[in-house]
């Protein structure tokens, strides 16, 4: 009798162990990213092998995401953390990583993938002082808005994932190849599409369209913010509008997380118009993927440039 129970029990335990093993084998790699663009690209590179989650959502201010304790259990379980780098997330990611008690994803360890490593940063301050603003100490971190930045992000993610999971190298490389092939084709299309934007003068609220403007030959006239992260003063706005009138800038870009009041006033003053442009995936309901982001921004700018009568001839 006892032996019967014992054998049944042993069988049951064996079954449990086998099931647990099975479940473990099927478990996907859990990747946490700071921003949604990274999540979209990481999901493309990781394919079926990974589950990806972005902490921030596209409509948030990426520099000022609130430190929510609900992020902590996610980081605690994360096998890999992907960040933009260049101090983009300095006000929230370091504190969360410390609290997560996950030494794998601490900066400097293999689970911490910084996608800015291959990027040549623009607007690197020559004089590092808080008098120059607070948000871009390592250079402008908004390189995701340039599709070439997307290429570097994808390559760095593929390398980082391979470093952490060398057994899946072939999959990551194959997925990267597919992604890059699509991106290359898109970039060719976008460059043709964006030709009328060449030489179009614009301002934005925050200094985040530098890489985008450089890629498509647009002319950055200034920002509403006094310095990155510093709200404008009255005299700065007067000077900015004067400058816009002098050079004939009509387009005011507004990122979703900034108030519309000041951009609207400026546009009214200079006879221009405001365009609301997302700076991350999900920043606008139509923008669901990284490709959508670039495409949407180009198309919205084209529309605005035509309305304002500043679009160049193709």
């Amino acid at each position: 009798m006892i032996s019967q129970w014992l054998s049944r029990f042993c069988g049951l335990m064996l079954g449990v162990v086998l099931l647990a093993g099975e479940a473990h084998a099927e478990e996907k790699i859990y990747i946490v990213t700071s921003l949604p663009d990274l999540a979209d690209i990481a999901a493309r590179i990781g394919g079926d092998l990974v589950t990806v989650e972005s902490l921030a959502k596209g409509i948030e201010d990426p520099h000022g995401v609130p430190i929510k304790p609900s992020f902590v259990p996610k980081l605690n379980r994360a096998q890999v953390l992907i960040v933009m780098g260049l101090e983009y997330e300095h006000s929230w990611i370091p504190a969360l990583v410390t609290e997560s008690r996950n030494s794998k994803i601490v900066k400097g360890n293999s689970g911490y993938i910084d996608v800015s490593l291959k990027v040549t940063p623009k607007e690197v301050p020559t004089d590092l002082s808080r008098a120059k603003g607070e948000l871009h100490p390592a250079g402008n971190p908004h390189f995701n808005l340039d599709p070439e930045g997307g290429r570097l992000i994808a390559q760095t993610i593929a390398e980082g994932l391979t470093l952490n999971f060398p057994q899946h190298r072939a999959t990551f490389e194959a997925n990267l190849k597919v992604f890059l092939a699509q991106l290359n084709a898109k970039i060719r299309d976008w460059e043709i599409l964006a030709r009328p934007l060449h030489g179009v003068k614009f301002i934005s609220y925050h200094q985040d369209f530098t890489y985008f403007a450089d890629r498509f030959g647009m002319d950055y006239v200034g920002t509403i913010e006094l310095k990155p992260g510093i709200e404008p003063t009255a005299s700065h706005l007067v000077e900015l509008m004067q400058n816009m009138k002098t050079v004939g800038a009509k387009i005011v870009l507004r990122e979703p997380h900034f108030s519309e009041k000041v951009p609207n006033q400026i546009a009214a003053q200079v006879g221009g118009l405001v365009v609301k442009l997302p700076i991350m995936v999900g920043g606008s309901p139509e923008v669901k993927t990284y490709f959508d982001l670039i495409e949407y921004n180009i198309r919205e700018l084209l529309k605005a440039a035509q309305v304002a009568g500043v679009a160049g001839k193709v």
Partner: protein
């Protein structure tokens, strides 16, 4: 040139290998009957091996193509036909790159310096009479009841409350450490700058099972605002109830173990053993007398957090401090003291616009229970000589609305009962100690109403205006005005426990 040679040799080897496989193919085909499954497997394996070798080769070729030509070597023929001006420029660039590389290799003794930041917190104030509270620095002397006696004179004042140096760094792969050194030049100390170590603690970073151990002097994990530094509070002064029940910050010397539960939601528990809690030394700090293990202070805290949805969230916590064998203020006996706290924080922070428009409502409720009679010494007894455990309630609640990135008005209400009124009166109806009445029948509880307005010109600078209206049972009510100006120098990073 050598690399090219190696490449050629490798390619040659590959071709040879292919030739051998190709030659073997017919041999297998000539074998009578179907080839064994194992042979097919073998072939497959070989093919895989070849593919891998080819891939490696390709990688090497790519790598070589990207490699700069070593200086001094002849270089590929294409380079020799290049423009000499271009070569000259190339040489210049190389020299520059070499110089830059050499510069990065220099080492400095200061390379391992910890990160530093300094907070300067200065306050101008006016107080209608001395009954009001010090701006939360806990430096006042104690009254007969052992509580902060707000001896700061009435009238106008300027006070450099804090010049606080925060130092932190990793110690080694297993631990980090930080220290907070505070120099304040307070009028209460005759404007002499006093230097103090507010915190100096060692924290583990790699313990398994989500555990972290902190040891040294630190602000113990009790409630939400008690462990914040003065300049990190959402108001000018520490809520009077916290100041009274804990005595400034929740400082202790001891060891804390905290644990993050492996749950899908946030759940954190901590336990601390220390020698005291706060600036208040009622828990027997004197080392003149030997202290039993029971004379130490034991703390526990449990906290959790829920996202109600993307825009609303709620944080809840409970804390307890138990000193089984506390020493009372007149040093005449050892009696139990227990402090229980509950805290909540609700936040409306819309995802897209929370940076410029959000609401925080938060509060704490404390219950202090003690056996000692701080006035007469010894055990507290009622009029019939029976021992009494006396409790006192206190707490605060505040709401702060963010109007823009820069402007945040708020309002705080604070209430506490003085545990140490001169005489204990028993409520004639219930027979229980009536802790909010004193001998003359006046209330000895304290209420403070505090509207305030904070302006952030930038993330690192803050100006705050606050008005306190305090009404204290048998004393005159007091009006206080504060203007606080705070700046942060250096790497002011937001720690998790100082999050907004």
């Amino acid at each position: 040139m050598r690399t090219q040679l190696q490449l050629r040799v490798l390619i040659g080897l590959i071709i040879l290998a292919f030739g051998i496989v190709g030659g073997l193919g017919p041999v297998f085909a000539q074998n009578p009957g179907v080839p064994a499954a194992s042979e097919v497997e073998n072939l497959k394996k070989q093919m895989a091996l070849m593919e891998e070798q080819l891939r490696q080769l390709r990688l090497q070729v790519d790598k070589m193509a990207g490699q700069p030509v070593a200086p001094g070597s002849a270089g590929p023929p294409a380079a020799s036909t290049a423009d000499p001006a271009l070569e000259k420029r190339l040489g210049e660039v190389e020299n520059k790159a070499d110089a830059a590389l050499t510069a990065t290799k220099k080492s400095f003794a200061s390379q391992f310096n910890p990160s530093l930041s300094l907070a300067i917190d200065t306050i101008g104030s006016y107080k209608s009479n001395a009954q009001g509270f010090n701006p939360g620095d806990g430096t006042g002397t104690r009254d007969a009841g052992g509580r902060v006696n707000n001896s700061r004179p009435a009238g106008a004042d300027f006070n450099l409350r804090t010049a606080e140096l925060f130092i932190s760094a990793d110690v080694d792969p297993f631990t980090r450490a930080y220290a907070v050194i505070n120099a304040s030049a307070d009028a209460a100390n005759g404007d002499e700058a006093t230097m103090g170590v507010e915190e100096a603690a060692i924290v583990t970073t790699r313990l398994p099972y989500n555990l972290t151990v902190r040891g040294g002097r630190f602000f113990a994990d009790f409630g939400t605002l008690p462990h914040r530094h003065d300049h990190d509070l959402p108001f000018v002064d520490r809520p009077p109830s916290i100041d009274t029940f804990i005595g400034g910050e929740s400082q202790t010397n001891g060891v804390e173990v905290s644990w993050l539960a492996p749950t899908p939601f946030y759940l954190r528990a901590s336990g601390t053993i220390g020698n005291k809690l706060g600036a208040d030394s009622r828990e027997g700090v004197t080392n003149v007398n030997s202290r039993p293990i029971k004379g130490l202070t034991y703390l526990g805290r449990l906290q959790t957090y829920f996202d109600l949805n993307d825009d609303h969230n709620l944080e809840l916590g409970g804390s307890i401090v138990e000193t089984p064998n506390a020493e009372d203020i007149t040093n005449s006996g050892r009696f139990e003291r227990r402090l229980v706290g509950m805290d909540f924080r609700y936040r409306w922070y819309p995802l897209g616009s929370g940076v410029r428009q959000s609401l925080t409502i938060a509060g704490e409720l404390l219950h202090d229970i003690g056996e000692a009679d701080p006035v007469n010494g010894g055990r507290r007894t009622d009029v019939f000589g029976n021992p009494v455990r006396q409790g006192a309630w206190g707490g605060y609640v505040y709401a702060e609305y963010r109007l823009s990135k820069q402007w945040r008005p708020g309002f705080r209400f604070d209430y506490f009962q003085l545990q140490s009124e001169p005489l204990l009166v028993t409520n004639p109806l219930t027979g229980l100690p009536a802790s909010t009445l004193n001998a003359t029948g006046h209330r000895t509880d304290n209420r403070t109403w505090s509207p305030y307005l904070t302006w952030f010109p930038s993330e690192f600078q803050r100006l705050r205006l606050q008005y306190n209206r305090s009404v204290r049972g048998n004393a005159q009510s007091a009006d206080e005005f504060f203007l606080q100006w705070t700046v942060f120098l250096g790497s002011h990073s937001h720690g998790f426990s100082e999050r907004e």
